[in-house]
């Protein structure tokens, strides 16, 4: 047991695990971030010219020094090591680093790592205990293998755009990079499971995921329903919130504000809101007459403010919530009590505020004030620490 543990303080679960992150943008780096927050040491391996291209990809033109705020958000709590992988000497340095690492993650297009001599078979010879993790867009074979693995493309191609929005709307994407994020999260699952196996068996493991398979898995309920019924999921014409769920499931506009109503039996809803015409419908009709029922409810709820309905429905224990924007959410006591934010300290004395890891371990919030690294910031230190010069392979 560690010193910390004897004192009863928190012992990070992945302490001592060294992760080499050959990744750019979001999918791989978000996996690296989660592993770092769980206690691993994550070293970004970057090209000495520009590094992770996310460094120069800003959103809303927000910058933190020379790097984008976006890069800082995804890459806090990591180190940066630069190497030109086309130089034999620097490649040898990387191979020596791989000897001492536990995990290697990359999200290059298929074939790129193998061409560099860093494919699974090669690195498994260098370090047979290594967990090798690979993220692609669409897997390594088939007609789409070379297609760019970008989130919106994958959303379009997996049918996901027919889940959101109303029936008459154009296909409606998720306004966040769900494919990248989910794939990164699943990679973390695969990596830690492989580490458990590695520790028990001594054998390294190769883990592969693609954005495409992650987004199919994401829709496993809808896909299975489609396989069984042969019918494509159909978005509700009124306030669609989930193609597989019956009335009243949806978000409703009120005289002021909006209210979300989840699975609430029609009879209970009617007893509470006394919606004209709703008593002609029974629970058996929530799929067959979904749009009619929802249209009636939508009309009726417009007559009062969201707060009014919320109070009324909550008193009966029914599943409702008012729609908030981020400002209103952040002002709530329930938000503040949870300490959902943390500050990251930058080298120049500035701080940025971001979210924290959503996993609580032994009641500890996993916080880290360590900022994202400048490009190559840790190269020299890592060379000395891992004795990369003296260990030519």
């Amino acid at each position: 047991m560690t010193e910390n543990n004897k004192k009863g303080t928190y012992n990070p679960p992945l302490k001592g695990v060294v992760v080499l992150e050959f990744c750019q943008y979001l999918s791989g780096p978000s996996a690296g971030l989660r592993l770092a927050d769980l206690g691993a040491r994550v070293i970004k391996i970057e090209n000495p010219n520009k590094g992770d291209l996310c460094r120069i990809l800003p959103i809303k033109n927000q910058w933190v020094g020379g790097d984008s705020l976006l890069f800082h958000t995804i890459n806090r709590n990591k180190e940066s090591y630069t190497a030109n992988l086309k130089s034999q000497e620097e490649l040898d340095g990387i191979k020596n680093l791989i000897k001492k690492a536990d995990v290697l993650i990359h999200n290059f297009r298929p074939g790129v790592m193998a061409k560099l001599g860093l494919g699974f078979d090669e690195v498994n010879k260098i370090n047979p205990r290594l967990v090798f993790a690979e993220i692609s867009g669409y897997g390594n074979s088939g007609p789409w293998a070379k297609k760019p693995g970008q989130d919106l493309l994958v959303q379009a191609m997996t049918g996901l755009m027919y889940a959101s929005g109303d029936k008459d709307n154009a296909p409606t994407p998720f306004g966040l990079a769900i494919g990248d994020i989910l794939c990164g999260l699943q990679m973390v699952q695969g990596i830690i499971a492989a580490l458990i196996y590695r520790n028990r068996s001594g054998k390294g493991v190769k883990i592969e995921l693609s954005l495409f398979e992650s987004l199919l898995d994401f829709q496993f309920e809808s896909l299975t329903t489609f396989f069984v019924s042969g019918k494509k999921p159909s978005r509700s014409a009124v306030n669609n919130a989930h193609p597989l769920l019956g009335a009243p499931y949806g978000i409703y506009e009120c005289l002021e504000g909006h209210i979300a109503i989840a699975m609430v039996p029609i009879e209970n809803l009617q007893e509470t809101i006394a919606c004209p015409g709703l008593d002609n419908y029974t629970q058996e009709m929530v799929f067959t007459h979904r749009d009619e029922i929802k249209a009636l409810i939508a009309d009726h709820l417009k007559s009062r403010k969201a707060d009014y309905w919320l109070t009324l429905l909550r008193e009966k224990g029914l599943w409702v919530m008012d729609l908030k924007d981020w400002k209103r959410m952040r002002a709530e006591e329930g938000y503040q009590k949870m300490q959902l934010e943390q500050d990251v300290n930058l080298d120049n004395g500035r701080t940025i505020t971001t979210t924290r890891c959503p996993i609580l371990i032994d009641k500890n919030r996993l916080l880290s004030s360590k900022s994202a690294p400048l490009l190559g910031k840790d190269t020299d230190r890592i060379k000395v620490e891992f004795k990369l010069k003296n260990l030519q392979s």
């Binding site: 679960p13 705020l69 154009a170 994401f218 309920e221 409702v320 032994d362 009641k363």
Partner: protein, 381 residues
């Protein structure tokens, strides 16, 4: 290959969030035993969607709970509780997604279990966290989406706030819980310590939004503005969006407007030379593009854009998707079979290990199907 061979998980969770976590762990090789209430079981068994059923139970239940076992116990009955504790004494992980306080009331809270079995990994999902005024509110996907602002990110600006049409918060919370459980299992192998893992849907939904929400936190709390048309992401410049063509829809991801002008022969885009303005002027640019793309078919446009390495794709629905070779080569489908022979086609685990798919033919268990076998094996009676 079973990475988690030998790991036993006692799972009290219902619906989607917890059960989707244990499904992943089962596919990775763990043994998952669902503890269910006699007679009714996991409420998801009766949660029908689109009226589709399998053997009188919801197909959704069968999808989420394949590759698991079922053991029934009345947790309010002292004898049954003792049996469950005996099972827990031989397990690695206990998990649940009851509202805060429920397991404590049943005498199965973390502190109780830990005092007898300090090596247990105890994992729980709540709606809104371990304290605070929302603690007792129902933790349901659409409610959490609404609370955390997700509907303000989807759909065009003139459309109402648009929720994401998959139970995304449930699925993410389950994914995060599985991460925490795995990390704790790894630590237990090193140090012998047990752990309490807690994930709330509230935290999971915020984590999902971490890129854009961090922007909001650092730009003086400016709220996201959806595009007025062809919306796909509130923070990404034109042309990023979904466009109708003469016979369907295509998407354009990040791209250079001037390159698109030339490739698509769309002179209307000529004034938009400065990449720095493609965000501020995204609605104008998209309007011009949208009108132009309507004039030809999807295949026509992709025939020009794809060879030029423009990030684009046709928008597919499930039927079209399944006709694609790119889908078929991934072999995402598999057939599972319940103990009495009913088959159901579903999707496999997306993770590949050493080049192999993780497949399991084992269908979801019937309520209490494994009571006798588990009682015997774990010597519970």
């Amino acid at each position: 290959m079973k990475l988690l061979e030998g790991i036993v998980i006692v799972d009290f969770s219902q619906f989607l969030s917890g059960p989707s976590a244990s499904l992943r762990l089962a596919d990775l090789g763990a043994r998952v035993i669902k503890i269910e209430k006699p007679r009714t079981g996991d409420i998801c068994r009766q949660l029908y969607v689109s009226e589709i059923k399998l053997e009188g139970e919801s197909t959704i239940f069968h999808t989420i709970n394949r590759n698991k076992e079922s053991f029934t116990a009345d947790l309010k009955d002292e004898g049954d509780r003792e049996v469950i504790l005996k099972l827990i004494s031989q397990a690695d992980v206990v998990m649940h997604n009851f509202r805060p306080g429920v397991m404590e009331k049943l005498g199965l809270g973390y502190e109780t279990i830990k005092s007898d079995y300090p090596q247990i990994i105890y994992a729980e999902i709540s709606g809104y966290g371990d304290s605070g005024p929302w603690e007792k509110l129902p933790g349901q996907d659409l409610l959490l989406q609404s609370l955390t602002g997700l509907p303000h990110l989807n759909g065009n600006r003139n459309q109402p706030p648009t929720p994401m049409g998959v139970s995304v918060v449930d699925i993410l919370a389950g994914t995060h819980l599985a991460q925490g459980i795995l990390a704790a299992l790894f630590r237990k192998d090193q140090t012998g310590e047990g752990a309490l893992i807690h994930v709330s849907m509230l935290e999971s939904s915020l984590d999902f939004q971490f890129e854009v929400y961090t922007t909001f936190l650092n730009d003086g709390e400016e709220l996201p503005q959806r595009s007025s048309q062809n919306h796909a992401h509130a923070y990404v410049a034109a042309p990023y969006g979904v466009y109708q063509t003469a016979d369907g829809f295509l998407i354009l991801a990040m791209g250079n407007i001037q390159v698109l002008k030339d490739l698509l022969e769309c002179p209307g885009l000529a004034p938009y030379q400065d990449p720095g303005k493609w965000f501020a002027l995204r609605d104008e640019i998209k309007r011009i593009l949208a009108a132009h793309l309507l004039t030809e078919t999807t295949a026509y446009w992709l025939g020009i854009l794809e060879p030029a390495d423009i990030w684009c794709a046709e928008v597919l629905d499930f039927e079209k998707l399944m006709e694609e070779e790119g889908y078929q080569v991934l072999e995402m489908e598999m057939i599972t079979k319940t103990s009495n022979g009913s088959e159901i086609k579903t999707t496999r685990c997306p993770i590949r290990i050493n080049g192999e798919f993780l497949l399991s033919k084992k269908g979801a268990p019937f309520l209490g199907e494994h009571n006798d076998a588990i009682s015997k094996e774990f010597n519970l009676k």
